[in-house]
């Protein structure tokens, strides 16, 4: 790439919130036609920087130059008019509208008083042909896949004439195959002259997609360099500021007696449609079983069924030989289950209560935290102080509200509470979602320690790296059914990716063999 005037240049950006500098002298240069990755831990200041670029926040000091011209981006609409478009992590789409309706929303072409959807659809079709974004403009959002919905988001920015596209954690919801497709789309866009800023903490994707990367740590831009020839390890070390180990070391598993036995269960979702069907799985003491699958294939309902939060319609859940099917959540918890819920803000904690209260959320009614129905705040704080120290939960005090803590520390608090009770079974759903490498490493270590201590661990995750790193055995769920159970040592991402789409193990292995021979 030739060095020319950068499309975007952010110079010495400082953004202070009170005394706290979220951005502390950040420099960023993006060239035309470049895919530029922005790498940093949670809270490093990536989002703040992008919010400044898209006009949601104003910098305390520093300059923004677009094509060499200094600009003031003081509102999102200003950012739009400068050709900056954002592809959000959480899609901003209306389910009941068609692709076209969603794309034109807010900048509709009208014919008299009515919408001119035909012209709009034509324009969308030509954009989607130009950039290889295959999607049917007349399909309803609720009828298309997540990957296609993301394409709609991309088309939305292109339709509004964006030349600079910001992708915020775009792969969080995609399957491995969809991720490959997305990366191909990004390359297409770059080839057509669009510039892309890719925000992510997934190192493999940076290496697969980006031309250059800027590492941000603690509000400062540390370094910008070409991605070619850099290893994931180097990227991670730079991001965290110390050496990080990816592969959590673990001895071979020594599975013992069966702790959790799920026998042919069926669980309905909120609409009353069977989300889990004929599902059977065993987890033994001293092993980690990973449940891989794309979001929305029955994982949530399965966990809620096991833990008593939802009724199991048929079949049995047995814990240490005892039938716990459809027992109350507290009875199941007390039979020795620790549950790290997938949505920590909705289920895992009371965000408006204090950290200390949250750490007692499963034990508040027991001695010594309460005596004859009266809470003992001193005991509660004692437990909280112990857990905070033991699990390295960082908060200004144990009396701050849980909602004011960072995601990583919230998760550590949930993990601390669930692991501290010396349970026989740990159910960890998305245990590291949205966390950075440092926190992921820590939580993985803790889960493996549980296995070493002879506990049964069930990990449910959409992240194949996580599943592969932690599990001894891997079960793959698709449409509420187990597609296959494989030994973690004998499988790989490609195979799991195919299983996740519902292909049988045999078919997947054959397909992969063909690929190799071809």
């Amino acid at each position: 790439m030739t060095e020319s005037t950068p499309v975007i240049e952010m110079r010495h950006i400082v953004k202070k919130f009170g005394d706290f500098a979220a951005n502390d002298d950040i420099n960023l240069q993006v060239q035309q036609g470049e895919i530029h990755a922005l790498l940093g831990e949670n809270g490093a200041g990536k989002s703040t920087l992008m919010n400044i670029l898209t006009g949601l926040l104003q910098p305390t000091s520093g300059d923004i130059l677009i094509n060499g011209q200094p600009v003031v981006v003081d509102s999102p609409s200003k950012s739009d008019s400068l050709g900056i478009g954002m592809v959000h992590q959480h899609f901003m789409l209306i389910d009941a509208f068609t692709v076209t309706e969603n794309i034109v929303l807010g900048s509709e072409i009208t014919k008299g008083l009515s919408l001119d959807t035909k012209t709009a659809a034509k324009k969308i079709q030509s954009l989607s042909d130009q950039y290889g974004l295959a999607v049917n403009p007349m399909a309803k959002i609720s009828d298309i896949s997540v990957g296609q919905q993301q394409r709609v988001e991309i088309l939305k920015t292109l339709y509004r004439g964006a030349d600079i596209l910001i992708f915020d954690e775009p792969t969080a919801v995609l399957t491995p195959q969809e991720i490959d497709e997305l990366i191909a789309i990004m390359h297409n866009l770059a080839k057509e002259g669009k510039s892309i800023i890719l925000i992510t903490h997934k190192l493999d994707e940076i290496r697969a997609a980006a031309d250059r990367v800027t590492v941000i740590r603690a509000g400062k831009s540390i370094k910008t360099f070409p991605v070619a020839g850099v290893s994931s390890q180097q990227l991670a070390d730079l991001m965290v500021g110390r050496e990080v180990s990816f592969k959590t070391e673990k001895e071979p598993a020594q599975p013992k007696q069966t702790v959790l036995a799920i026998d042919n269960i069926e669980v309905d979702d909120a609409r009353g449609v069977a989300a889990v069907k004929d599902f059977s799985l065993e987890v033994k003491a001293g092993e980690i079983v990973g449940l891989a699958g794309i979001d929305g294939n029955g994982q949530t309902e399965l966990i809620q069924g096991i833990t008593g939060l939802t009724k199991v319609k048929s079949g049995h859940v047995t814990l240490n030989g005892k039938d716990v099917t459809n027992k109350k959540p507290r009875q199941i918890t007390e039979s020795g289950v620790g549950h790290i819920p997938e949505d920590r803000l909705r289920f895992g904690m009371e965000v408006d209560m204090t950290l200390s209260e949250n750490l007692s959320l499963q034990t508040y009614y027991k001695q010594p935290i309460s005596k004859s129905g009266v809470l003992q705040p001193a005991e509660m704080d004692k437990l909280a102080n112990k857990l905070v120290k033991e699990f390295d939960v960082r908060a200004a005090s144990i009396h701050v509200t849980a909602g004011s803590m960072s995601g990583g520390n919230q998760q550590k608090a949930v993990v601390a509470r669930e692991l501290d009770r010396d349970n026989d079974l740990i159910i960890a759903a998305q245990p590291t979602r949205g966390l950075d490498v440092g926190a992921i490493e820590y939580i993985h270590r803790r889960l493996i320690d549980q296995r070493t201590a002879g506990k049964a661990v069930l990990v449910v995750s959409f992240e194949l790296d996580e599943i592969l790193n932690l599990s001894d055995r891997i079960a793959v769920i698709n449409a509420g059914k187990i597609v296959g159970i494989v030994d973690a040592k004998e499988t790989n991402k490609q195979e799991l990716g195919l299983l996740m789409t519902g292909m049988s193990l045999k078919a997947a292995r054959e397909a992969l063999k063909e690929e190799v021979t071809v």
């Binding site: 939060l309 109350k328 819920p341 909705r346 895992g348 009371e350 129905g373 009266v374 809470l375």
Partner: protein, 375 residues
């Protein structure tokens, strides 16, 4: 809905603005606001009897406000406090009149418990309907206010024995065995109807505070109110807790009604509308900002306004309705606390600016002084 934790200054500003609105209205209609407010204050504190009246007025407001707070902590908007209070009132008076010979030490506690229980049942029904079927407690409690209002009137007019009635519209007065009034208190307040009820209400502030802040039950109610999913996850039965909270809420309202019946009016008479103590209690809780001390202060303020307002027409000619305008304005400003916070922010910013200018002036003066000194 959980009562928002307003800070003290929001409450203070709301009261101030409410009084200002009242003053403006008085001015517009040709009254003198200063003499109007002086009349209000002197009517509320002019004599021991007035003070007794204020305390009598405060008693049910404290209890219904506590009831509202408990329900709202659990995530319920209990508009049915009026009906629940009425249930306690009718039940306790009926019971007291039916057993005129029961000794006081049996009658009073049992009547208080009965009235509380009736209120609790009236609160429990909408609580259960929401927990079980998701029926909106707002609609159910509003409708139950009507049911209980007309049920109460019907019991009075058609069910109660002639022997315990004064007329078709009024019961006889409850006997000494059931009256909560104390001779020394009545004498001290020159014949006001203040009763033991005020002490019960004060004790209940402490009891409810303790239950809500210090016990596992209060912890569960708070947890369910803040996040029912997380509470369920932690093994709390969200349904049971919600029903219990509504029963406590209704029970407190029932107790308020019982004290109205056995302490204040000493009888029951045909009601034209749901008793206002229920709605005023909600207002007190909102002004109190979810704090238990705040409830005490807000109940005192409202009672002073109401009792003081009664004296206003006589001494200053300002109609009594003005007090309702002031109270309504106060609640309006509590609700519009965003506005107050904005004003506070502006004032703070102006102060800072002024301070900065001051400092700049001072330093420039100091500099010029120094310069002069140097000459």
């Amino acid at each position: 809905m959980v009562v928002q934790k307003n800070n003290f200054s929001v409450a203070l500003f709301s009261v101030l603005f409410g009084l200002i609105v009242g003053a403006i209205i008085m001015l517009v209609f040709g009254y003198n606001p200063i003499s109007g407010y002086i009349a209000l204050i002197s009517s509320a504190f002019g004599s021991m009897q007035d003070i007794g009246g204020v305390l009598t007025q405060m008693t049910p407001l404290i209890l219904t406000a506590l009831g509202f707070t408990v329900a709202s902590t659990a995530g319920f908007f209990n508009i049915g406090l009026s009906g629940q209070a009425l249930a306690g009132w009718v039940g306790a008076v009926w019971y007291a009149l039916s057993f005129p010979d029961m000794p006081a030490f049996v009658m009073i506690p049992s009547a208080l418990i009965l009235g509380t229980a009736l209120g609790a049942v009236a609160g429990l029904i909408p609580g259960w309907l929401r927990a079980q079927f998701g029926a909106s407690e707002v609609i159910v409690t509003i409708m139950m206010n009507y049911i209980l209002l007309f049920l109460g009137n019907n019991i009075l007019q058609n069910t109660m024995a002639k022997s315990i009635k004064e007329s078709a519209e009024t019961t006889k007065q409850v006997g000494h065995n059931a009256s909560l009034q104390l001779k020394w208190l009545t004498d001290l307040t020159q014949g006001s109807s203040v009763s033991t009820g005020i002490f019960i209400a004060l004790i209940m502030i402490v009891v409810v505070w303790f239950v809500m802040k210090k016990t596992t039950l209060g912890f569960e109610i708070t947890a369910v109110g803040l996040n029912p999913d997380a509470a369920k996850y932690a093994g709390v039965s969200a349904k049971r807790t919600a029903v219990v909270a509504m029963a406590i809420s209704g029970g407190l309202a029932g107790l308020a009604g019982t004290i109205e019946g056995l302490g204040n009016y000493l009888n029951f008479f045909t009601q034209n509308s749901s008793p206002s103590i229920g709605f005023d209690g909600m207002a007190v809780a909102l002004l109190g900002g979810g704090s238990y001390l705040g409830i005490l202060g807000a109940a005192a303020l409202f009672s002073v306004l109401k009792i003081g307002g009664l004296g206003m027409p006589m001494s200053s000619g300002v109609p009594f309705e003005l007090v309702d305008i002031v109270i309504a304005s106060i609640i309006f400003f509590v609700g519009a606390n965003y506005l107050i916070r904005l004003i506070q922010k502006r004032i703070k910013a102006m102060d800072e600016k002024a301070a900065a200018q001051d400092a700049a002036k001072k330093s420039s003066k100091a500099a010029s002084k120094q310069a002069k000194g140097g000459e």
